[in-house]
């Protein structure tokens, strides 16, 4: 199997390849990093945003990832440890970069993340919260893949049904018969389209995860955490 690992690409000597890969890694990890430093070190939102930008800038400059070995541990544990180390070094040196200076210029919605921090329960440890946030990010990225794949395959209605039935928090959920009326379909079509979308979503999530890991063993280990089951 050909493995297009973002982590391997991020260790490349080619700046363009590295930049593309870091963008992909940041998409999955910026929220976990932002929320982690906000809650663990109790720093202000603007400082956490600066820190997150700088963290991924350092990744781009190959400061961290060159020393990553998937045989020694999970990428997310490694990145969390790197965040701790960077924070402690910054505190020690008091040499924080000014906002926007030398940053990776990633377009990250810190305002939305901050609103989530304010409403989430703080009963769990920052480490557990980092892992949960990572799961959420992989799902969101998987969802974006599903949407793109449905759009390009002329199956947007499959995605819209999935969005309506599986992603909305309506209580009670609409019945398949109600959805059939709403979308102008037969009830059996709703059943089939949702089954297709769920199967595709699972594939998209696992494809996303595969890109974020460097070996089949790491992929299987992480899939077990992500889905709570063995992936064969």
């Amino acid at each position: 199997m050909t493995r297009h690992s973002l982590v391997v690409a991020a260790q490349s000597n080619d700046p363009a390849t590295r930049s593309w890969a870091i963008e992909g890694i940041a998409a999955a990890y910026w929220r976990p990093v932002y929320k982690y430093v906000r809650t663990k070190w109790n720093i202000a939102p603007e400082d956490a945003a600066d820190f997150t930008q700088e963290f991924f800038t350092r990744l781009l400059e190959k400061e961290f990832l060159d020393s990553y070995d998937s045989g020694k541990g999970r990428l997310r544990t490694f990145l969390r440890t790197c965040a701790d180390r960077l924070f402690m070094n910054q505190t020690r040196d008091s040499k924080r970069l000014k906002r926007g200076v030398g940053s990776a210029n990633l377009c990250l919605d810190f305002m939305e993340a901050e609103q989530e921090v304010a409403t989430e329960l703080l009963s769990e440890s920052p480490e557990d919260s980092f892992d949960k946030e990572w799961v959420r990010s992989i799902f969101v990225l998987g969802l974006a893949r599903l949407q793109a794949s449905c759009e390009s395959g002329g199956k947007l209605i499959y995605f819209e049904l999935f969005e309506r039935y599986d992603l909305e928090e309506a209580d009670p959920k609409p019945s398949y018969a109600q959805l059939a009326t709403e979308f102008g379909l037969a009830t059996t079509d709703v059943t089939n389209y949702l089954a297709f979308a769920r199967r595709e979503f699972r594939r998209c999530v696992l494809d996303q995860l595969r890109e974020m890991t460097t070996s089949e063993e790491e992929f299987r280990r992480e899939a077990q955490v992500l889905l709570g089951m063995k992936v064969t």
Partner: protein, 43 residues
């Protein structure tokens, strides 16, 4: 893309653990047990 709530993530995770029986003549009844090789479901 908009972020997902913790509740929706938990629901999706649970759904993804269910065996996919679409296209078969079976309906899922309940989970029986799991071990090193996988999970057993009554269908």
């Amino acid at each position: 893309m908009k972020n997902l709530s913790a509740r929706v993530v938990a629901r999706l995770q649970a759904e993804m653990q269910l065996p996919d029986l679409s296209g078969t003549r079976y309906n899922l009844v309940r989970f029986v047990a799991s071990g090193g090789m996988g999970s057993v479901w009554l269908a």
